[in-house]
């Protein structure tokens, strides 16, 4: 069964994932039996009653009530089983236990952000303890996104202007991928994250280390920290560092260059322009690129912005 | 139509029908089916209205006061009157009173035009106050953050209804011209009949719109 499971389903890494899997196999196998049965009968009829002469006259068989009732009621019972079973599993996976550990999730083009109780913040990495229910309270800053962890068999849309919830208990330490499954534009397919499952104590110490968030680790130079931030905040989803043109202009050689803006004017890329572009991206958009970037006002602090600018400078 | 003729010799008889009765029945049924479509078309907007009224009941009470119940009421009477005259036009056709068809159609057109004129003044008055739909909304008389949504619905629903009135006027003018050429009589009045059906629907939709927007208390 395990081997079969791996063929069609990702590894079941949450405590409830196997419930979904059992139902999955029940429906698929009974469907397979029905398919083989019906196609078998069809092929048998086609062979047995193949036309032998052109003026054959066939018997008049208009209907058969017993048969009609049988093949209405049996499938009805089958689908009602699948319905009840599916609903029961769904409800169990939907209602989070009261003692669940809460983490806030924000979706925005094209990054997942996580905020923990003590103010720790991560981007693209969701750190959770193993063996403890985790409840995600999710909202979006722009369009609809959807938070999907295949390994946990859970998914929930993340909608602007309201909160949605999702919960799971990770079985053991490890990593699982998070996909955005509601189409959200250019880099929709790059809007992924990792769930990183720690042992309980390891998680607590990780949390303590990251309390407050947003200050420079002591062992890093500003530009190195900037490089880290650029990945973490998914800047590099749209801005390449090797000269390729993506959704936004490349960062390679951009510092102190002249750029033409959409209104035809030109601007020299300096610290002020970069800072403005991070906080008010729509103010001065470079010619040839769509005006799709979100503001990072209130998300990146001054130290972080400075670090990113330092990093961009090193790319010349 | 008990006394409806089954003549196949009318100049407006179309060859693919078996007889004029089949042609008349088909046209009438087609219009009924089309009206079902119209109801669903407006139904989408009514559904949006219901959802927002459930969410923001106080908004609807507050915003409704900006609408002029008197003129809304006058318009209701005008439209009901026009429904009556269009029914009289059909009756005149059945009775073969060719002149009365044209007269009744003429009155209907006039009433529909009055309706649109009153509507025009209602809208322009609101524009003066800065009550525009959606993001252009610039009125601060209503203390509610979602006031623009109410007026978006108001403009959409009365606007869509207004478009139907204008289309109705166009159809009536066409009927009037044809009736003056003497095309309609008790043998053939299908276009009058089915346009009348359409006009009644336009009337009924207004009868729903009026209390839903003007008479919220």
């Amino acid at each position: 069964m395990e081997a079969l499971n791996d063929l069609l389903l990702p590894p079941a890494k949450s405590t409830l994932a196997h419930q979904t899997d059992t139902l999955f196999w029940f429906v698929h196998l009974s469907g397979l039996v029905l398919t083989i049965g019906l196609i078998g009968v069809l092929i048998y009829f086609v062979y047995k009653y193949r036309r032998k002469s052109e003026d054959e006259v066939t018997p008049l068989i208009t209907h058969n009530n017993k048969l009609e009732v049988t093949w209405s009621v049996i499938p009805l019972i089958m689908v009602l089983i699948v319905f009840g079973w599916g609903y029961q599993v769904f409800m169990e996976q939907r209602v989070a236990p009261d003692d669940a550990y809460e983490i806030n999730v924000t979706g925005q083009k094209w990054i997942w952000q996580f905020t923990y109780e003590n103010g720790a913040r991560t981007n693209g990495e969701l750190h959770v303890p193993a063996g403890r229910p985790v409840k995600l309270i999710m909202s979006s800053n722009d369009v609809i996104h959807s938070f999907y962890v295949p390994d946990y068999r859970i998914k929930q849309d993340v909608v602007p202007g309201r909160y949605t919830e999702l919960w799971f208990t990770a079985k053991e330490t490890g990593e699982s991928i998070v996909f955005c499954t509601e189409y959200c534009g250019t880099s929709h397919s790059d809007m992924t994250a990792q769930v990183i499952v720690h042992e309980e104590e390891e998680f607590d110490s990780w949390l303590a280390d990251n309390a407050g968030g947003g200050s420079k680790p002591e062992d890093l130079a500003p530009a190195e920290w900037g490089e880290q931030l650029a990945t973490e905040w998914a800047c590099t989803t749209c801005h390449s560092t090797d000269g390729t043109s993506m959704t936004g202009p490349t960062w390679q050689g951009v510092f102190e260059s002249e750029e033409t803006l959409t209104d035809g004017s030109t601007v020299t890329v300096d610290e002020n322009y970069l800072r403005e572009s991070i906080l008010e991206p729509s103010a001065k958009v470079v010619e040839g690129y769509p005006d799709v970037m979100n503001t990072y006002q209130g998300q990146l602090n001054d130290d972080q912005i400075n670090a990113i600018i330092e990093y961009i400078k090193t790319l010349n | 139509m008990a006394n409806h003729s089954t003549s196949t010799h009318s100049q407006f008889f179309q060859h693919h029908f078996v007889d004029a009765e089949q042609q008349f029945d088909a046209a009438k049924m087609g219009m009924w089916v089309f009206l079902v479509t119209e109801i669903l078309f407006f139904g989408g907007l009514f559904a949006a209205y219901i959802v927002y009224r459930l969410w923001y009941p106080e908004l609807f009470v507050m915003a409704s006061e900006e609408l002029n119940t008197l003129w809304g009421g006058v318009n209701t009477i005008v439209l009901i009157g026009s429904s009556l005259t269009v029914a009289m036009a059909i009756k005149s056709a059945q009775l073969n009173q060719k002149r009365n068809i044209a007269i009744n159609l003429g009155i209907t057109i006039a009433l529909a035009a009055i309706f649109m004129v009153i509507k025009y003044f209602e809208w322009t008055h609101k524009f003066h106050l800065g009550i525009f739909p959606g993001e252009f909304y610039a009125f601060d008389g209503i203390d509610h953050p979602k006031a623009n949504v109410f007026f978006s619905l108001y403009y959409l629903m009365t606007g869509l209804h207004g478009i139907h009135v204008v289309i109705g006027i166009g159809l009536m003018v066409w009927l009037l011209l044809r009736s003056m050429k003497g095309h309609f009589d008790s043998e053939y009045y299908t276009p009058v009949e089915i346009t009348g059906l359409y006009w009644h629907l336009v009337d009924i939709i207004w009868i729903f719109l009026f209390p839903l927007f003007y008479l919220i208390d």
Partner: protein, 578 residues
């Protein structure tokens, strides 16, 4: 024939036998480009639709191949992410609105509905022409949006993405709005035609199942399409005026949009597939020379599907944040809609029992339909189960599921219909061997394309992804290879059908020995279908009588249209028409 009943009008009828290779037919009367463009003949309008939907099928198909080719490798293979997003949007929008919705009802339905009813035309021929031009106008407007910035919203136009993204979304939604009216007017026309234009003797229980399916389809068209029209109008208004009904930034609710959209778009799925069911019934009965099993079960299950289909839209929204109770109800109703569909499958299989089966190419396409639609339907049951839907929603599993239903089901049924009625429409026979080869090619290509998508979907591959993680690459590559096989299959059909117009053998009036009414007129029917109003004595599936006892009657006197007329055969001598 009962003659004792007093309220029935008796009509004297003669036997009728069509001539093969007639001098006068609908194609050589009223010729010339202008006559075609202004024709009100339902057959010519049907052919114009057929040409148009074929054109858009190829456009949409090329988009599909571009999408599949791009997915050969993760990230960029040969096009940019934004272009990719526009292409899959256009693939979906073109296939749904310009091909699937009009294909069977507007093309084949237009041609064969009046013929199967024994009518000279649809009830409103000019309205029919207007529908066609609205379709063309809507299609042109949609095409304008491509050169005007394109659209990248997906065919579902979800807000607030669609109300905030760049490009020509407003133009596209207006185009779909116009096409919607074309669809509505066709529905109005068909319902009236079926009610009012049936030939004498054609009572509801002698109505062909193709007509029943068109009837059910038309009901959905007139009830659901206006809601789509108003919804898309609202999206347009959202972009122009910022009315804020769907945009949370302006106080609206984006999930409300989804309710509106799926209220149309789920029933629209049945607009696409139910007419296909009608074709299946016709073809299975004809090629097994057997009275259809469970006539009423099949006819009424179409109506049941049409009705329940309106109550299941929320199954597209199990993870959207709608209330659990709503999800439960929608899931329950979704399973109920599976039952009438299952009933049809069983009845069709039972029809083959003790038949006289000839596996000609239309029937081969129906067998293709049978398997693919069964897989599509059963995976629909999987997706209807809420717990499984949570895992599979918006993954390639869903993509594979609806392609099995829409392409495997609907397109196979459409192709079966085209092959079945090709001799009647064009007066020519196509190459049977090539037809079978291409049917098998399409069947193989289709499975190679979409079976791997089930696997990667349940493994977690989300849909509408430009980039993907490497473990999925092998499935994507198999799928891409399959899509090329599929493309070759469609090109083969195009080739031999066009070739048959020039080189094909002339078709007999009734090459398949069918009992359905449209086969009792000449191949290449006369301009007005029937020189005299036909009188229906036998049902369309009366294969239990030998052909020489099965004849079409022609009214000698009287020509009432009401179906309660009872026909009586007065003459035993077959007579040629005219």
């Amino acid at each position: 024939m009962a003659t004792a009943e007093t309220n029935l009008k008796k009509i004297q009828v003669q036997r009728y036998e069509p001539e093969s290779d007639p001098d006068q037919h609908y194609l050589n009367e009223e010729t010339g480009l202008w006559a075609w463009l202004t024709t009100v003949d339902h057959k010519k309008i049907g052919l114009m639709y057929l040409a148009s939907v074929t054109f858009f099928f190829f456009v949409g198909g090329i988009m599909a191949l571009l999408v599949r080719t791009e997915l050969w490798t993760p990230a960029k293979t040969f096009i940019e992410a934004n272009t990719y997003n526009q292409i899959f949007t256009l693939h979906g929008a073109i296939m749904v609105f310009l091909f699937l919705v009009p294909s069977v009802p507007a093309a084949l339905g237009n041609f064969f509905l009046p013929l199967q009813l024994g009518a000279k035309d649809v009830a409103f021929p000019r309205l029919n022409l207007l529908s066609y031009y609205l379709y063309v106008a809507g299609a042109l407007i949609a095409l304008i949006s491509i050169v005007n910035g394109g659209i990248d919203t997906g065919w579902t136009f979800y807000t607030p993405y669609s109300s905030t993204t760049g490009g020509a979304v407003t133009i596209m939604t207006f185009g779909v709005f116009v096409i919607g009216f074309s669809s509505i007017l066709t529905g109005v026309n068909f319902i009236t035609t079926i009610h009012k234009m049936r030939a004498p003797g054609l009572s509801w229980d002698k109505l062909s199942l193709f007509c029943w399916s068109l009837y059910a389809t038309s009901i959905i068209q007139i009830l659901a399409t206006p809601v789509l029209a108003i919804t898309l109008a609202l999206v347009g208004m959202e972009r122009i005026l910022g009315i804020g009904i769907f945009d949370p930034a302006l106080g609206g609710d984006p999930v409300l949009y989804q309710h509106f959209f799926w209220f149309y778009s789920h029933p629209a799925v049945y607009i696409m597939i139910v007419p296909g069911f009608g074709i299946v019934s016709e073809v299975i009965s004809t090629f097994s020379k057997k009275h259809i099993f469970g006539y009423w079960a099949i006819a009424l299950s179409s109506l049941a599907i049409a009705f329940i289909g309106f109550l299941v839209w929320g199954h597209h929204m199990f993870v959207s944040g709608q209330a659990s109770l709503a999800s439960m109800v929608f899931s329950f109703l979704t399973f109920l809609v599976g039952i009438p569909t299952g009933i049809k499958m069983f009845n069709w299989t039972a029809t083959l029992y003790k038949g006289s089966i000839r596996v000609a190419s239309p029937l081969l396409y129906i067998f293709g339909f049978f398997f693919l639609f069964l897989v599509g339907g059963l995976t629909g049951i999987v997706l209807g189960s809420i717990a499984l839907n949570v895992h599979l929603h918006d993954t390639y599993y869903v993509v594979a599921h609806f392609h099995f239903v829409m392409v495997g089901g609907m397109v196979m049924a459409f192709l079966a219909g085209v092959h079945y009625w090709w001799p009647k429409m064009t007066g020519r026979m196509y190459n049977e061997t090539m037809a079978k080869i291409s049917c098998v090619t399409i069947f193989i290509g289709f499975n190679v394309t979409f079976l791997p998508q089930f696997v990667m979907g349940s493994l977690g591959m989300p849909r509408r992804y430009f980039n993907y993680i490497e473990q999925f690459q092998i499935y994507h590559q198999i799928s891409t290879v399959g899509s090329y096989i599929l493309g070759i299959g469609f090109m083969m059909i195009f080739y031999y059908l066009i070739r048959s117009l020039y080189k094909g053998k002339k078709a007999e009036p009734n090459p398949w020995g069918s009992r359905a009414l449209e086969w009792q007129v000449n191949s290449l029917p006369p301009l007005h279908n029937f020189h005299h109003t036909p009188v229906i004595i036998n049902g369309p599936y009366d294969y239990h009588k030998p052909m020489d006892e099965f004849q079409l009657g022609l009214a000698e006197n009287g020509h009432g249209h009401a179906p309660q007329h009872e026909a009586e055969v007065s003459s035993q001598e077959p007579t040629k028409a005219e």
